[in-house]
Symmetry: C2
Subunit: 236 residues, 2 copies
C-alpha cells in the first residue's frame, strides 16, 4: 500500500493522548463513582477536564510558575471540591488525582499502535507529565517508543515550542512528523509549525451526544476513523 500524497516523507508519528488514545471521561467517571461522593460522576469528570485550558493559560501567561499536569489537575480538583463543600480525606483526593495515570485506551488504540510501531516510531506528544504518561503506558499496554511531554519543553500545547521541540529531539524536519490527534485545534497548531496532520475523530470523547469541534476534511493531511484505519492508510 502506498502512503497518501504528501506523507511519503513522514519518519515518525507523534500522538496527542487524552481523548485521542485514552477515554479519559469514562475512566475518571468510573473512579469518581466508586468513591461514592455525592456528585454526578460524568458531570464531575467533565467539570474537572473543563478546568484544564484555563489552568494551562495561567502557566502560559506567567501567572502561575511552570506546574506539571498532575499539579494543575490537583488545583482544579481542590476547587471543584471546595465549590461543592466536599472535604474527603487527603489520601482519597491524592489517589483520585492520579486517576489520569490509569486511563483506559480506546478499543483500537493498542492494536493500532502495535501495527503503526512496526513501521514508524510512535511517540507521545501530550500535555500530560512524563510520569503520568509512563504510568498510563504501563497500565494500558501502550507500546510507545518514547514519551515526549510538555514537561520536557516547559510549554503546553498548542505553544509551538512543543511541536518544534519534538522535531528537534527526533532530529527531523517538522514535515517529517505526523501529528495524530482527535482535536482539530491541536492539529492546526501542529500544521502551523510545519508538521503533517492526521485527524482521528473520537465522537465518544465527551460522552453520548457530546459536542465535537467543527472541521473540514481538506484541512488535514489524513482523516482516519481509528488507529487501525490509520495504520491501513499509512501502509503499516
Amino acid at each position: 500500500m502506498t502512503t497518501p500524497g504528501g506523507l511519503a516523507e513522514v519518519r515518525a508519528l507523534v500522538f496527542d493522548v487524552f481523548g485521542t488514545v485514552v477515554d479519559w471521561r469514562s475512566s475518571v467517571a468510573a473512579e469518581v463513582r466508586s468513591l461514592g461522593w455525592p456528585v454526578d460522576p460524568p458531570a464531575f469528570a467533565d467539570a474537572w477536564r473543563a478546568g484544564y485550558p484555563s489552568a494551562m493559560q495561567e502557566v502560559r501567561e506567567g501567572r502561575l510558575p511552570w506546574t506539571h499536569l498532575d499539579g494543575l489537575h490537583r488545583r482544579i480538583l481542590d476547587a471543584l471540591l471546595a465549590e461543592r463543600g466536599l472535604t474527603p480525606p487527603e489520601a482519597e483526593v491524592a489517589e483520585l488525582n492520579r486517576v489520569w495515570h490509569r486511563l483506559a485506551p480506546w478499543p483500537d488504540s493498542v492494536v493500532g499502535l502495535r501495527r503503526l510501531k512496526a513501521r514508524f516510531p510512535v511517540i507521545t506528544l501530550s500535555n500530560g507529565n512524563v510520569s503520568l504518561l509512563l504510568d498510563m503506558a504501563r497500565h494500558a499496554g501502550l507500546p510507545w517508543d518514547a514519551v515526549f511531554s510538555a514537561e520536557l519543553f516547559g510549554h503546553y500545547k498548542p505553544d509551538p515550542e512543543v511541536y518544534l521541540g519534538a522535531a528537534r529531539l527526533l532530529d527531523l524536519e517538522p514535515q517529517q512528523l505526523l501529528m495524530v490527534a482527535a482535536h482539530p485545534s491541536d492539529l492546526r497548531a501542529a500544521a502551523a509549525c510545519g508538521l503533517k496532520t492526521a485527524y482521528v475523530p473520537r465522537p465518544m470523547e465527551r460522552g453520548p451526544g457530546g459536542r465535537m469541534a467543527s472541521w473540514t476534511p481538506s484541512e488535514f493531511d489524513l482523516v482516519a476513523d481509528d488507529f487501525v484505519a490509520l495504520a491501513g492508510a499509512l501502509g503499516a
Copy 2:
C-alpha cells in the same frame, strides 16, 4: 524472591547505555572495517570513544555551546580523519557517524530488560541524544519504557542535573531509582545524588584484555554479572 536490603523502595530502573547495554566497540569496528579505510578498526573505535570525555568537558566548561552526542561524535571523527590524512566522501563520513545509532546489544540485554520491565519501568539515562537512543532501541529491540537523555537536561553525566532530572521527571525520590551501569564512575555520581546503584561489569567492553576501572563490592547496592542475573537479584 525478596529484593536485596535497601532496594525495597526502588520504583524504576535507569540504565547507562554505551558499554552497559550495547557493545559499542565491536559494532563500530565492524562498520569501520566494512568501509575499507586504511586503519585498524578496533583501534579506530577506541580512539573515537577516547575523544568523548574531553568533548563533553568542553561543553561542561562552556567552551563549546550545548552540542548533542551526534555532534560531538562528528567533531571527534573529523579530527581522527584529519590526523590520519584521510578524506573519505562526506556521505560516507556522515553515515559512519550514525553507527552509534545501530550498536548491537550484549547477548543478555534484551532478554534481561524484558524480564526487568515486567516488574519495573526500564528507562535509559544516557549521554546519547534522544534520536540516537530511539534509533538504537528500534534497531536492537530494546524495550524501553521511556528514553531519558543528557539532551533533555542540557548536561552530560556525571553532572548531577542528569540523575536528579531523571528523578524529577519520574516524580520519585532519588533513592527510588536504581542506576544500572558498567562504569563505577557513573554509579558513584548517581550515588552522590542519592540514587541506588547496580554494577554490571562488562569485561569485554574494551575488547579482550581491555582495562576495567577498579571498584570494591561494598560501594554498590548490587553487583550482577549480566541483566538476567540482575533480574534474578531483583525478583523480576
